[in-house]
């Protein structure tokens, strides 16, 4: 789904990215208003800054796809649905997903689908029922797509960071006009953190690659993350950091509240911001460092911050000792 308006470009050729942090006290809060207002803010921001970039320095092809383009189009929300979650710290909360769906519809999308391909358990209906998605979105037949068993198409991998060369990916993802990655704010026992880029592992179909998608591990998790995100460029990210997970994530860690939702039109910038909220250094996360060279912005000076500041919501997350190197320097001294 490599499109000209979202090409792979080094940071100096990319315009700044926008990331918004919004404080949210609880999933019971009116999330629709908050998400709709925030998305509208991005829309307004896009209109206001239109034409401000130096056309000579920044080719039109490098401009991120903005929200104005969703009118009359198909939006795909890609949450992180993993499995049983008695403490509410593993799966993207259905209230966030449902509110985002309503917001994109109100902003003019013709259709908003929700799709995921859980990595460990092939009974996707059991997972979405345990997540209680239907309670928030209504009947699932026409809304939810099990990406593990969707029709697939061969996609050559242009970045070739891993040895995969090609992947078979779901048509629902490849044909969506606007893809929104909606992860949970979590640490990860193999990759360090799992945020909007790692969340895209869930589009790789188990029906082709199994449960788990072990071929990605053999090809190198960090490099596979880069290849998948370069092949299917998520256009937007909304991270559920209201209740996340620290330590031995993404399943067996400890719940950790940050009470935030993080939004952005550049998943790399969103993930970098989330790392900073977690007290981690994004440039030390291997796949994020790689993503910062081609897919989006890692550096704070290239990220226009909307809403709350990082400092005001910073909530240091514990990591496994194998990932102590990811801690921000000030935390390493005190560790």
């Amino acid at each position: 789904m490599q499109t000209p308006e979202n090409a792979l470009l080094p940071p100096f050729q990319r315009p700044p990215s926008q990331v918004a942090i919004r404080r949210v006290a609880s999933y019971e809060q009116d999330l629709f208003d908050l998400i709709y207002e925030t998305l509208s803010e991005f829309l307004d921001y896009g209109k206001a800054s239109e034409g401000q970039h130096n056309e000579k320095a920044i080719p039109a092809a490098s401009l991120p796809r903005d929200l104005a383009r969703i009118r009359g189009k198909t939006v795909l929300l890609k949450p992180n649905f993993v499995g049983l979650d008695p403490l509410g710290a593993v799966n993207t909360h259905p209230a966030v997903v449902a509110a985002a769906r309503e917001s994109f519809l109100k902003l003019g999308a013709a259709q908003v689908l929700i799709g995921d391909g859980p990595a460990l358990d092939r009974d996707t209906e059991a997972i979405v029922e345990s997540v209680r998605l239907r309670e928030y979105t209504g009947p699932l037949q026409r809304t939810f797509v099990d990406l593990n068993i969707d029709d697939v198409e061969r996609v050559p991998l242009k970045t070739r960071a891993s040895r995969l060369n090609e992947l078979y990916l779901p048509k629902t993802v490849l044909r969506a006009d606007f893809v929104v990655s909606m992860p949970k704010l979590k640490t990860h026992h193999w990759a360090g953190v799992t945020l909007s880029l790692k969340n895209m592992f869930g589009i790789v179909p188990g029906g082709c690659y199994g449960w788990p998608k072990n071929v990605l591990h053999w090809a190198g998790i960090d490099n596979s993350i880069l290849d998948i995100n370069a092949a299917v460029r998520p256009d937007f990210a909304i991270v559920d950091g209201i209740n996340g997970m620290e330590g031995n994530g993404p399943i067996q860690g400890t719940p950790k509240r940050s009470d935030v939702l993080v939004f952005g039109n550049d998943p790399v910038a969103v993930d970098a911001t989330c790392c900073r909220i977690m007290g981690l250094a994004p440039e030390k996360v291997k796949y994020l460092a790689g993503a910062g060279t081609l897919l989006g912005h890692l550096k704070t000076e290239k990220i226009e911050q909307l809403g709350e500041s990082v400092a005001s919501v910073r909530t240091p997350f514990a990591v496994l000792k194998e990932f102590n190197r990811l801690l921000e320097p000030c935390r390493q001294k005190s560790n």
Partner: protein
Amino acid sequence: MTTVQVECGPVQPSTDAEFVCSVCLPFLRAAQNEDGGWGFHPGCQSRVEATSWTLLALRGQESSSSEIHHAGFRFLRAAQLPDGSWPSCAAQNVGSWATSLASWALLGDRESQTAVAGGLQWVCDDWPRNASFIARMIRKIASGSQVTSQNDSLRGWGWTPHTASWVEPTALALIAISQAPREMLPAGANRRRELAKAMIYDRMCPGGGWNCGNPMVYGVPGDPLVEPTVWALLSLRDEADRRENEISLEWLARNLAKFPGPGSVALAKVCLEAYGREWPASAPSLKDLHARNGFLGSVPVVAWTCLALSPRRSWLGAEGAR
């Protein structure tokens, strides 16, 4: 596509039987593609996995001479790669775990015996990459510490070639091998079988049941899941009296309500009944679960439901008829 008359006569009339006859079988028949295969959903690309489950489900329901069967068998034979394996999707040119399943589904078809023999040969020649001595040494040196608890010298099968061993593909390969006539099995099949059984037992979660194949990670026990537990237990039926089987069956019966998906419920019913266990009266009804989301239109789930609600267990082989 040829229309075949509904054959519900021999099945005892009951709510489950009516559900199979009036909802599940018509759904499967209507979902068959022009090429004879089935996709994961009606109208979708024919896939080896969906076709194999459907053929197994229809084995006990239709006359085996029906055109629906023959077209399905033809699709599978046409999808086989020159090396004897089956890919997981049509355009792929490498084999996959679906080879075991396709071999199993074709066992009942006389015209497909050469294809089955080729599939079983490929299965027995396919070794997971992590199990070699050199790979184990490299991993040990690289990790410095033991992240996972399993014994990697025990070999099973992976989802895709040259990756690690996992519970479900290993169990499905074991079932395919155990159902094949002895004369069809390649040399070395018995050794693979014994090694794979040892691997599955080694990967059991503490307290019984299986997940995809990580019983412990960073010293923390993994939680079992229904589907891997079912396939592991069905592949180990000739060791039914072992304690591991017992505690895993108990885990399955005890935890059904936690997994509210029709796929899990259908397969759990198959498994418990194959072991001669009573289906708990409190267990969810597949008919009710269908009313909820229409099984999300999943062909494999409808096929498993047919298998679960059919009193016949011939598709599981002689051991399944207990």
